[in-house]
Amino acid sequence: MSAVDLLIVGAGPAGMAAAVVARRHGLDVLVVDDQPAPGGQIWRSVETVAASPRGARLGDSYLAGASRAAAFRSGGAAYEPGAQLWQIEPGFRAFVTSGDKARTVSARAVILATGAQERPVPFPGWTLPGVLTVGAGQILLKTADQVPEKPVWIAGSGPLPLLYMTQLLAAGGKVAGFLDTTPPGRLGAALRHLPAALGKAGDLWKGVAWTLALKRAGVKTVKHVAEIEARGEGRLQSLRYRRQGGAWQETPAEVLLVHEGLVPSIHAPLALDCKVEWRHDQRCYAPVLDGWGESSQPGLFVAGDGAGIAGAIAAEHRGTLAGLAVAARLGKVSAAMAEAEAAPARKVLERELAFRPFLDALYEPRPQVFAPPDETVVCRCEEVTAGTLRARAAVGRPGTNQVKAFTRAGMGPCQGRQCGYTVMHILGSAQNRPPEALGFYRIRPPLKPVTLGELAALEQPDNAA
């Protein structure tokens, strides 16, 4: 077993920033990350791609990751790529698998910098090969220089589809059409938050510039799409969509990428019994944290988009704050010094957070995301449909965990990452209760299925605690 002062899970903007500041204050730091290289989601593969012509096509905010990765590499934190965390016991003892071997790490403090995932978007046919998320398409572009073979359909709402389409076009890919699912009237609702968002006028402009670029490139856009359906025998072959109350349109399609915003990764905090709160503004749970990112479990911090969606710049500054707090807790820096060093990070973070209400209102998910038609598979792993869940919801007002036991929804290997929020909403609306009254599934470790081979490795004296 190895022992460190601070274990950081995730080498994205938050994890890297936390590692740099913690090392600067002399902490012994280990960073584990399940990717082969540092950067997290925004800066995937940036170390190799930034220097190539592909880097420029991905844009400036992508290229900015190269200097962050370099600072992280030279900061002196031990870094283990390709290593997935699957359990943490109080105290702390963390279980990590790399290759097919598990081992334990003991740490005096832990920062979870595991980021966000895309919000599940269930609709009929979303399990067909050929339907992926926009984030998946973007990961394929960044890491493998890979684009859909034929012109691709994009459906969804939020900054990521706009960014991906501009990156795809710059790389030489083609867009068949963009089904913009942002409902009518969202801009009006968002404008209320405009004054607070003006501190980030650059980002407001970026959104406009992306939209204009897509228009110039002649990307066909259908606005206010409310419902989509994927169809095909064994793979996606066609796509149907319609506006609220409108007529269905059908078109052939081989690849459809969907996106309806991001939600924090909450499985690790939930498994550790950290307090979480329902964020109505972002339609998701987020851990309850103090001003440094410390959770309700002392010594356990959450930084980055895992703390609530706020973007990469906020992620970095949340990482800095958490790293400072651990340094202060372990006596490497006085509380007053930590406070002084934190001041600039807090200022930037405040500005970033002030921008969110505008984006959250503009891209609030359409109601259909939470109320798919009966035939839709909601739990992809156990193949439980919305109709089955609705039928169960009506009998005796069961809660989320009861319905999980009855139907097996949420019991598969993804542990509800693709169905939890949908199940909460379906039960809630059937029972006339707000989704948060039902709550998310109870999550127990391990955070991913663990094989006998991995467990056997723990028995080795070198690996076990």
Partner: protein
């Protein structure tokens, strides 16, 4: 259903997919390679045996599972290709319980 924009050139390695030798770029992601195959799927689901393919590419959907070098239910989107790697598509249930 996907294509690579550049030719991996001399850095190419060979991966066996269901026994068939396929060329890949050294250091690239295994799920990305699977998505370039003519039949873009990699497994069938455990309940209805319907075909499934990588969906999230970031480890949160478990659709990309395959047998890799004899180990079942490996998340191929979190796996880097190696020369001589053996990948088999996974049909139905195989060590899938959480």
């Amino acid at each position: 259903m996907f294509r690579k924009l550049h030719d991996p050139g001399p850095s190419a390695v060979t991966v066996l997919i269901d026994g068939k030798a396929v060329s890949a770029e050294a250091g690239e992601n295994l799920a990305a390679l699977l998505l370039r195959q003519p039949e873009g799927w990699n497994r069938t689901s455990t309940v209805s045996q319907s075909p499934r393919a990588p969906y999230c590419m970031m480890g949160v959907c478990f659709e990309c599972l395959a047998e890799v070098d004899g180990v079942g239910s490996v998340q191929t989107c979190l796996t880097t290709v190696r020369d001589g790697m053996r990948v088999s598509r996974q049909l139905g249930r195989r060590m899938l319980s959480a």
